[in-house]
């Protein structure tokens, strides 16, 4: 108990110390396992709120959350909007294509305008890796990275981890396979950081042309400033899936073919689609995940996407609870 708490005479005296001190959420590589677990615990309380007949609490009444999206997004934007509204916050959505960004307003000017309008939280998606970091250095707003370029998508990773945690419990020693276009995936990157922090074994699988360069695979600790934590890399999906507790298929972007990174869609499907036959190599009941939106029949077989093992819809529902937890902790969680 802090001296300050004692002096104010708390009613019961004994309080669990808050594990949250952060002003922004930019990526999971900076979060400690305790902080990640604190988000998961908080999300559990938010799930209860979402299960109510009227899923709304007054916690963030008077707080304005701005969704600033420089890239099209349906589910992430809607998920943040529902999360903010369930907590009683006001939400303003700005799609950068239609805004004064088109008139040439710079990113920082836009952010300063949002700040001057009285917002407290800025949820931003930007096509440029690192953009939220630049903004965070120049604003007193709480910045939540909702996806920056190929770099990070921390709330997607948190909802993936939360979904895994709800089904598997402790993630230590669990094997999670992420398959697809790893090199261009901010989801894979953030998932790898968060999952390894909690002790899971992460296997990244894909064709060599879609794996990032410079992966550390020797099992040693991550280097300062490394792009990815130590992970296992595998180019053969059947081998990767052996004894897996969960597999996550990533969306295959068609433009990768145009860039010459993939010979053909058919070949990708033949070698890397998550289908029933390959899934049989994983642990019985292994979870099937996808960050969406899915190309059914390409990276994932329709039968697998709709199977009893699929938690893809739960990921979407859990996303709202996790984003509520993040908004709550950033604005109200600090001790």
């Amino acid at each position: 108990m802090s001296a300050r708490a004692r002096a104010t005479g708390s009613p019961t005296g004994v309080h669990e110390a808050s594990a949250w001190q952060r002003h922004h959420l930019l990526d999971l590589d900076e979060l400690t396992p305790t902080e990640i677990e604190h988000v998961l615990d908080t999300a559990e309380a938010m799930r209860e709120v979402l299960s109510r007949e009227v899923p709304r609490v007054p916690t963030l009444r008077g707080v304005t959350v701005v969704n600033l999206f420089y890239e099209p997004s349906t589910r992430t934007r809607a998920s943040f909007e529902l999360a903010a509204k369930a907590l009683g916050a006001d939400v303003v959505n700005i799609a950068a294509e239609q805004s004064s960004v088109k008139k040439g307003e710079s990113l920082l000017d836009t952010v300063r305008t949002i700040e001057a309008l009285g917002a407290q939280v800025l949820v931003m998606r930007h096509w440029q890796s690192g953009a939220p970091y630049l903004v965070a250095r120049h604003t007193r707003l709480h910045v939540v990275n909702a996806g920056d370029g190929w770099h990070a998508h921390p709330t997607q990773a948190l909802l993936d981890i939360y979904t895994l945690h709800r089904h598997l419990g402790d993630l230590r020693g669990r094997k999670v396979v992420i398959v697809g276009d790893i090199a261009h995936s901010r989801v894979a990157r953030s998932d790898a950081w968060g999952l390894t922090a909690l002790g899971a074994r992460v296997v990244l699988c894909g064709p060599p042309t879609l794996l990032p360069a410079g992966l550390r695979t020797d099992g040693r600790g991550a280097e300062e400033g490394a792009a990815l934590p130590p992970v296992q890399v595998e180019t053969d999906l059947s081998r990767a899936l052996a004894d897996a507790d969960a597999v996550m298929a990533l969306r295959l972007q068609r433009e990768r073919m145009e860039g010459g990174l993939l010979p053909s869609l058919r070949e990708y499907v033949r070698l890397y689609q998550v289908n029933e036959e390959r899934l049989a190599r994983a642990r019985p009941g292994a979870l099937v995940m996808h960050p969406g939106p899915m190309n059914e029949g390409i990276e994932i077989a329709p039968a697998v996407a709709r199977s009893a093992q699929s938690v893809i819809e739960q990921q979407v529902t859990n996303g709202v609870a996790v984003r509520m937890a993040v908004l709550y902790l950033l604005t109200r969680g600090k001790a």
Partner: protein, 213 residues
């Protein structure tokens, strides 16, 4: 019920052990036991009887404990009621973290946990159970939280300790013990289920304990 004089003498007692580290060590906060495990058990049993009496049975009664320590207290009340009346009373758990207005000022932020409200509380006699009643702000938040789960026919309040200093027009219906305190003191309820033992203590800030010597 403790008399004023008993309370005062308990309060003026010197610490049984000198603080470790000699005269230059920072003074430790002083702690006095106000209720023992037996006192707590008797208070819980008396409140259980009062709940039964006041509601003429427990047919429509639902006990809702406020996290953290109100929950084990509510369970103990339900156990006692089962013992006395042979009837089961539903027990729920309420987390008021999403409804508080005082924490930003106190600088405290206990971890949120899910609320778990049994059956419907619509039209029921809900007895809110908490360990310490102080400013009344937690109860205000609890009432808001409770109403989001339905419209109870009546809400009553049971607390193990009422330490005074209300800031809102809130009064308890059942009180284990009234303990007059100063705002600088802290009342801690410890329960077996959470803290490994049963007792209620009062803690005085180190400055004051020092000043008294």
């Amino acid at each position: 019920m403790v008399s004023e004089s008993e309370f005062d003498s308990a309060h003026r007692r010197r610490p049984s052990r000198p603080s470790a580290g000699g005269p230059f060590a920072p003074p430790a906060a002083r702690e006095h036991v106000l209720m023992t495990a037996d006192d707590i058990r008797r208070a819980v049993h008396r409140i259980a009887h009062e709940i039964i009496e006041r509601n003429r049975g427990v047919a429509d009664v639902v006990l809702v404990g406020m996290r953290t320590r109100g929950v084990p207290l509510a369970r103990r009340l339900a156990d006692a009621i089962r013992q006395f009346e042979g009837q089961e009373v539903p027990v729920g758990a309420l987390d008021i973290g999403l409804y508080r207005d005082d924490l930003p000022y106190l600088g405290l932020r206990p971890a949120l946990r899910p609320s778990d409200i049994p059956t419907g509380i619509e039209g029921k006699r809900v007895v809110l159970v908490d360990d310490v009643l102080y400013t009344g702000r937690s109860i205000r938040a609890a009432l808001d939280a409770l109403m989001d789960f339905g419209r109870p026919g009546q809400v009553q309040l049971a607390v193990l300790v009422d330490r005074g200093h209300r800031e809102l027009p809130i009064r308890p219906d059942y009180v284990g013990r009234n303990i007059p305190t100063s705002r600088r003191e802290e009342v801690q309820v410890r329960l077996l289920e959470v803290d490994g033992r049963d007792e209620v203590v009062i803690v005085r800030p180190p400055e004051e304990a020092e000043h008294e010597r």
